[in-house]
Symmetry: none
């Protein structure tokens, strides 16, 4: 049994050597493609030749008999041909725009004097689920400011499962949020749900929020990116981490990289029914490995239960989250939406104390 | 001992009377729940409130001390609360706009001479994943028309996970699709992804498609509904059946009920990795119970594997689907997207033969 | 310009040559992976090692600097690593004991004159969820025999979620089942839950059933295999198809391959709540590709709803199932377990008529 | 809109009042059942009368027309009839045996001088995935003891997905573990997988472990419970929290309540592929609400990635876990199983330092 590790090591080394050889060949292939591109450009030939690609597949399938199955061969060569075509067409892709560069430290957003992404100093974005009235916002904003919180959230365009549900106060709600934030020197965070809203909403807000249901609404991502505003993007409740990162790539491609992007884990859909969603706490360190963007957690929506907010908030911060998004309402029992998961101002203050965040 | 039967009879009668009283109270409880549902709907409140449910259980356990054990009380009230929640969420009631009325027979759509929803006559919507060229469409449309297929699909606005992937030919692609459909007397089906597309796209298409990623893009649903055109709505891959029906309610509320709505099951996301998604074949009879709308299945996307298309197509039809959506490409190997799940024209013809559909 | 075609031809030839070289390297890589698989299997090492995969990616990204971007390198090597993993996990190879050999036709079990696995002739295994009384079994067995059904099921050792629920009649129940089956010339199918039961139960039954909760109870699988009796193995509700096949490998390794193995899909756990489980209809053709064993579907347990039994039974057969497992009870309302999904004898007869199976 | 909260409050009160009235009627029903039980006992009549139950259902369905559907009526009355029958048969169930009593503080286990469940003092159970050799255990045990760790784990009976994988050293491995633990004054924790192992294994171990795959192996739970030894029970990766608690009930019913039960969250199966399982961190506070038992987390298995162990361990403790289960191996690269998730002794020491646990 003592030889097992040795032979394993040898095999691993051999596999790594083969990886390198394959990489070299792919690299040589790209060099030829670049020459072909120049030749085609000079002669006005079309770059993409599907018939030839099809024939190359057929030849490979024939050559590969006894080594690999047809589906395997196609899956190996498809990305090689795609990358070749991308080079041929001059649109060679690189790394993720939002990927963490080697050695890159966490990016920090500084908005209206509040920061997101400073190690050891978690940001808290708090406020009611839905904007309901000026009084509601005033009471919330005053309380938050008094506790040292710098980010006021409130939804004015609410994506609702039922078309007959309260859809929010719309642009009037955004204006109320803006005014309340300004009175107390807070940054305003509000959700957009339609690319046509951005012209009006972007100037009135400090951070645009894109909710879980719209994570793959690419038209909305593009328009939000184009505003150049910071965008807080929530993970769709059935999105893989890769899909989440590619949604953020839309923001970066269309402009948000300058303004800043904040990633928000808010729970995924699983079979468990004790909670509305299952907070995927592992996503927090994984996202932080893959990007240098701030990663926060919305623990109110994940659990859908007020009694789990404190333990989940602690867990998210312990796992490395840069901040929390929390629902706070001056009178949760009377809230028009998500009453069961909104904290009262007293409960919120108690939570901050437990988390040792803010002024209390 | 002669009294035993008498006392037994009395006890049995008393038990039956109590059954009836309990039934009446449960009935009165449902009536209150129905009122609460209306109130919550109008005010955008969430239907399910696990904290309150938890408190009701606690109160009952306290009140029931000495009468029943905690587990007994929970087992008695769990179904009562579940039925109440079902009523609250409209699952038990017939008040969905798209809900099947008592005795209502299946609705049939008749578009350009093709029908969807005729029992025993499955509709087939076929064509390439993405519109690539006039030639590609012409070859496909000619072949389909020759096989008796009435619906030509083709994507011109492609929602792509990566911002750097081919995003489709846009409005030019829609025009190509329209022209090819017209040349062969077919109805044209194409996807929309942005509410701003509808002004241009709706006049050029016979059925608007809304894809799985946009099922909860409510702005898009509203605009699509407003066009009055038939809409084919795909289930999001993590949407419950209720959420899917409520998305269709958006269409109905804003106008599509006149034009027609087609529901499309296309697989849900589960832990299983052999297939890209898990076709939820149970959803087909459930959707048909709950609505009279045509329910079709997109088996190309569900499996993501060409070799499973035939068995899944048969299963979907056997479970009651009114039709199928299938990807067909004159040269699948050269397809710009989803090559691994597109059928060649020959494979498609063979499938129709196996399904005993169309002319072959 | 006359040289263009020449140089183009040269470049094309060079690209094709590189394709072939890459293919050879990938083939050599698979050969090493096959050796590693054998080594890991013998030593109980896990096949998938995400940390090592991650390090290989990192090494390649470093080596590839200046040649290819990180995203390109990942997209080239992802399918190569996936195929390697598939080989490592035995998914691509034919070396499962229960794997379908090239050209192997479906295996057919012949038990007490009834067959399972004959194309076009679905087997039906029916009977009550739990054995309750001799009268219950007699009524069921007589009715089934009259309808041409050859397999009588009934549970005597019931795995129950709660320790206080009715756990079945035990060995007395098995004897009742045996007697009822013998009176009507039927094969008897009953579940075992403990390796210590096999000594007594195996001689009294024709097919041993291992339920979903015990699919990974390897001690039970070994003992069941050792009896040499046919075993009907249900898929655990969170097992991947590969895990299911490997559980069947335990049976085959310890002896059941002679007696026969029947695989049973019975629904997986997903987020959907309309049904108790989601019937994974795709698993049926996939299992039949991978093995030549009979694959049946238990649609009673999958849905947990009587009203879905007919459409799901049709779907399962359409997808290629060799048979069905169904719960039938002479008086479902009075059943001691799973009342909501058991069919009455009349309902069962009606179902057979719809499925065009048996004598009716 | 100001009246909404008022009417909501009224409706909620009315629903609570109805709950109480239903409870009273069910209580009166039980009192009648108790009288009937006495009458039947005195006269030798059978307790269960399925025909009468069936007629009661029919009467209720008839009476309930227009109020509730048949399925709803059955689901409401089924538990009422079941509880009635349990009372009739003298086996009336009470609360969960393992349920937290009102005001009950956390239970603390004290084993060989180590404690599990002391607030603020997390227990760490560490050691190799599989027992491989005396030397491996000696190096591990010596290192753990030096760091103040009190619980040594090591698997000798390994439940393996493939029948051809290394299945562990069996009883010899358990003896090695016992000896190593004794040399260093540690408690020994090892997994059992077959009820027939307990006679030999229980005397040699301090805590019996039942793994995720065997959580619903009720025969094993019963035998483990009967030993009276403390049992560490892992949640199956597709078990709901309720199913997990009921599995622990088996232990408590058969005897473990005296010895102690430790619940272990170890990740659930979801669609996400970055991790092997998704640690359900919410389960920790929920389990602690429902029971007073110690709840620990196995973060090695949840993630399947060494690089996530530290953040997940912190998150689990922050969420309220009483301890951690961790895989430590003197030479992880050479480990025979789960190499990718085992920590070296140095990495483990570094982790303890980060967690501020133990002596370092």
């Amino acid at each position: 049994m003592s030889d097992v590790p040795n032979r394993m090591q040898e095999l691993r080394q051999a596999l790594s050597d083969l990886n390198r050889e394959i990489l070299d060949l792919v690299g040589r292939r790209i060099a030829l493609v670049d020459e072909m591109r120049a030749l085609k450009l000079a002669n006005g030939l079309p770059m993409y030749d599907p018939v030839r690609e099809s024939r190359m597949f057929e030849a490979l399938v024939e050559q590969g008999q006894g080594i690999l199955g047809e589906a395997e061969i196609r899956s190996v060569f498809r990305p090689i041909f795609e990358i070749s075509l991308a080079h041929m067409e001059g649109r060679a892709s690189g790394d993720l725009r939002i990927g963490r560069r080697p050695g890159e430290s966490d990016r920090v957003l500084n908005i209206k004097g509040g920061t997101i992404g400073v190690p050891g100093s978690p940001a808290v974005i708090a406020g009611p689920c839905a904007v309901e009235s000026e009084e509601q916002l005033e009471r919330t904003a005053a309380a938050l400011a008094g506790m040292g919180i710098r980010f006021l959230r409130g939804g004015a365009f609410k994506p609702r499962t039922s078309p007959d549900a309260f859809q929010g106060l719309g642009i009037d709600g955004v204006k109320m949020l803006r005014a309340a934030a300004d009175r107390h020197g807070l940054a305003a965070v509000t959700e957009v749900t339609d690319p046509r809203q951005l012209e009006d909403v972007a100037p009135l807000t400090d951070i645009l929020q894109i909710g879980a249901r719209n994570m793959a609404n690419y038209a909305l991502l593009q328009e939000a990116g184009r505003t150049g505003k910071p965008v807080l993007l929530k993970r769709a409740f059935a999105a893989t981490i890769d899909e989440f990162l590619l949604a953020a790539e839309y923001l970066a491609k269309y402009g948000s990289s300058d303004g800043g992007i904040i990633l928000c884990e808010r729970g995924i859909r699983t079979f468990e029914r004790e909670t509305r969603f299952t907070l995927d706490v592992s996503a927090i360190p994984i996202l932080r490995q893959k990007t240098a963007l701030p990663v926060i957690a919305d623990v109110s929506h994940a659990a859908g239960r007020r009694d789990l907010i404190a333990p989940l908030a602690k867990a998210a911060l312990a796992a490395g989250a840069s901040g929390l998004m929390l629902e706070v309402h001056p009178c949760p029992e009377a809230a028009l939406s998500d009453a069961s998961q909104q904290l009262s101002i007293q409960e919120f203050q108690q939570l901050l104390r437990e988390l040792n965040v803010g002024v209390f």
